[in-house]
């Protein structure tokens, strides 16, 4: 899977005015979309947990948050490298960038809240509330920043229809498919791992009770 990603990354795209740095785009955009996908999973499973109190929902929320946080980190690392050559600065306080940074901070806080709680139902419910508030905050932050700060013409960079060379569209679609597959797989494995951990703990408890 990763090999395919690297191939598409090195072979297909042709040069553009921005040069080689533009290639980051083929990673940056898919990971940004996957981050939104993963945080969408957190939002839905948090709502699910609050209404049913079923731990299976919480495992999905946790997995979504961890994987989404990872994707968001990749987006925030690759973005400035590209911005440095395209805009001349590493960072600007534009709406899209600020929103992504805040998203990253909120889910960092979310993961901290989870790990510093006692792991009981109350912690999980609190995490769910933060997961929901965090996800709802995204459009709010976006609009509040967009309202006041000047908008950058970046939306034009991100319209996929506007790609001049067909190879670019192919490469982007391929990367998008591969990254989303990777992310879905990561989330699913994380859920499975959490499930196994819970079963291990239960079995250990039963074993100790049987011994005693």
């Amino acid at each position: 899977m990763l090999l395919g990603l690297a191939l598409a990354y090195l072979y297909v795209p042709s040069e553009r005015t921005m040069g080689d740095v533009q290639r980051i785009f083929y990673f940056h955009v898919p990971f940004a979309m996957s981050a939104f996908l993963a945080f969408g999973v957190v939002l839905i499973s948090s709502l699910g947990y609050l209404s049913t109190r079923d731990r299976a929902w919480d495992r999905w929320a946790q997995a979504g948050a961890e994987v989404g946080f990872l994707c968001c980190t990749i987006v925030l690392l690759t973005g400035p490298v590209w911005a440095r050559s395209a805009w001349g600065v590493w960072w600007t306080w534009d709406a899209r960038l600020s929103t992504t940074l805040l998203l990253w901070l909120i889910y960092a806080a979310y993961l901290m809240l989870r790990s510093y709680g006692d792991g009981g139902d109350r912690t999980l419910r609190q995490a769910a509330v933060l997961g929901i508030a965090g996800a709802l905050n995204v459009p709010i932050v976006y609009y509040s920043v967009a309202w006041f700060r000047t908008q950058h013409p970046q939306a034009t960079f991100f319209t996929r229809e506007g790609l001049p060379v067909p190879e670019m569209a192919i490469a982007l679609r391929f990367c998008l498919a591969v990254v989303i597959l990777l992310v879905v797989d990561l989330i699913w494995k994380r859920v499975w791992l959490a499930h196994l951990e819970e079963r291990r703990d239960r079995l250990r408890l039963e074993l100790e009770e049987a011994r005693a």
Partner: protein, 226 residues
């Protein structure tokens, strides 16, 4: 509906009475805000800060930092002696508890802000008097948003091991949209523009206040109940 408000006012009155006797939130919070102002004064030595670009940022940084101290106190009170459990045993709407706690926090933090604002104005040489009315409106709206988010999250953080550290970590990212609107409209007002120019900011503040009020009413019970 009346019982909702009765509960909310009873909770707020309880918090305020406790504060009136102990002054454990008011004095440290006010002193901390004062210290921050002095620190800013030293950091921007001798130059008067620019009322359009720097003063609003410094003012809201001071209020955000100091507000967290008041919030931490608010739930530390409930934790000591398991008061929160007693409060939750009462057969009342959790939304009313939220509104009561938020109301008490609002009055406390508002009082601190009212004291700190003139000191801020004098020490950092920012003329506040000509635009006091509009500024008060902005501060009220933004502080309302701050206590709504803050009450929800301090209830949340109080149940964890790292509560005092965790509160600002979860609070600040969510509080950013209100901060942005508050700083922007404060800047306009401080630089002598009429309030009508800051109308967009005020509308945004009001909308965010409504959204976070809804979040608090909906989710407070999940955050505090054991």
């Amino acid at each position: 509906m009346t019982s909702f408000w009765n509960t909310a006012f009873a909770v707020a009155a309880k918090d305020l009475r406790l504060e009136g006797r102990s002054r454990e939130a008011l004095v440290p919070t006010g002193f901390f805000a004062l210290l921050l102002t002095v620190l800013f004064g030293f950091a921007f030595q001798s130059e008067p800060v620019d009322p359009r670009t720097q003063a609003p940022g410094l003012l809201w940084a001071a209020f955000s930092f100091a507000g967290v101290i008041a919030l931490q106190r608010s739930f530390a009170l409930e934790r000591d002696g398991n008061c929160l459990r007693a409060l939750l045993l009462a057969p009342v709407d959790r939304g009313a508890l939220f509104v009561g706690k938020a109301l008490a926090n609002f009055l406390l933090i508002g009082l601190v802000e009212a004291v700190v604002l003139p000191i801020f104005s004098v020490l950092l040489r920012v003329p506040v008097a000509p635009c006091l009315g509009p500024l008060a409106l902005i501060i009220c709206l933004a502080t309302l948003g701050f206590v709504e988010v803050g009450t929800l999250f301090s209830g949340m953080a109080s149940g964890t091991r790292l509560r005092d550290v965790l509160l600002p970590l979860v609070l600040y990212p969510v509080w950013v949209p209100i901060l942005v609107a508050a700083v922007e409209s404060t800047g306009l007002v401080l630089s002598g523009r009429p309030l009508s120019e800051a109308r967009e900011g005020l509308i945004l503040l009001a909308v965010f206040d409504a959204i976070f009020l809804g979040l608090g009413l909906l989710f407070f019970e999940h955050v505090v109940e054991e």
